[in-house]
Symmetry: C2
Subunit: 207 residues, 2 copies
């Protein structure tokens, strides 16, 4: 079964909340609590969990650890997946520091750049390699996902190099929309949209 994108998004968000509940010692959560935190209806939460075959709600609500594990078994890769960051400017460094350690099944294992001041150094905890070694390093480190944080004018070329190197999933942080073959999953990540949403609702609050 392949889940719809929006369902995967919500499951990932539920798990984030469940992990934060677990960290706080909260062992159970009701569907309406989960719904409230995510600004959706309890019906939506129950429908999502039904879709993944999870229905073991108790009087006290869902078991937070059990549900986090069920979601993990479904969305995580069993052995974990290795990730590379391409472009170690401010954004690349920020993202690497932010991600690493957050999810045991997703690890940023290498970085790439073309700047001689960055190549062959450890930056934000990972080895930074030259882009010309992308193919070799990707194979050696079994990298299947790449995050593009390069300057916009090189994004298209970087994407082509990643596809040639056998990368299967790309998260694009640049403002340039990319085109990749159907065999590669692409997620475009746009911070401007998030800020524009905030601005719209601030504006309409005034009205």
């Amino acid at each position: 079964m392949k889940l719809p994108e929006k369902t995967v998004e919500r499951l990932s968000e539920y798990r984030r909340t469940l992990l934060s509940c677990i960290a706080k010692g909260k062992t159970h959560i009701y569907s309406h609590e989960l719904a409230g935190i995510h600004n959706i209806t309890a019906v939506q939460v129950r429908r999502d969990l039904m879709l993944i075959g999870y229905s073991s709600i108790k009087k006290k609500g869902y078991d937070t650890q059990e549900l986090a594990d069920v979601i993990g078994a479904l969305i995580d890769h069993e052995k974990g997946l290795n990730v590379a960051v391409v472009g170690m400017g401010n954004m690349g460094r920020a993202i690497t520091s932010y991600f690493n350690g957050k999810r045991p099944k997703l690890n940023i294992v290498a970085a790439f750049d073309v700047d001689p001041n960055k190549v062959n150094r450890v930056i934000a905890g990972v080895n930074c390699f030259h882009m010309k070694d992308l193919l070799e390093i990707s194979k050696r480190y079994e990298i299947s996902i790449a995050i593009i944080t390069s300057p916009p004018d090189s994004a298209t070329q970087v994407a082509e190099q990643l596809v040639s190197a056998g990368i299967k999933g790309i998260l694009n942080f640049t403002t340039i929309p990319l085109n990749v073959p159907d065999t590669v999953y692409l997620e475009e990540f746009d911070m401007i949209t998030s800020l524009e949403k905030v601005a719209y609702f601030v504006k309409t609050k005034d009205e």
Copy 2:
């Protein structure tokens, strides 16, 4: 009329595409082209534009400049809104450089930190002030939106200070979920979800 969140999100995304068409000299676009770029149906695109009262489709498709302007008039604040970034670590600097200049109606005009090495300096093109001056600077610069990129353990306190200073919209880049009064619009921004989506579709491609 207050538009639903998802509609605002899509309108912002359409505009990003329209602006990139305009930059490339493309004067018209069909609903099915817009739909294809955003991985949705042409019916969805037409429904969104009908909702905002835009139906002037020509034989050649929508006029890219006209549609970008219509969306702008709807989602942008007429005079523009001023934004502050709280926390000038890697993420704060990356976001400031990324945003500024992208949208004329949204400007990052100030930054805040508590680190004496950052306060009273210009970082990523904006003045960095001490958090203790938040209220005064927010008023002076007419700041209505804040982006939180502080360390996670200070996020809750930062959010409280922002609310007290009269900030009306918050974009939270930390991994800590925040609670704010109903008078403040909060957008939680989670990069992990985007990466987990990519990982899920990479995994299911293998299957």
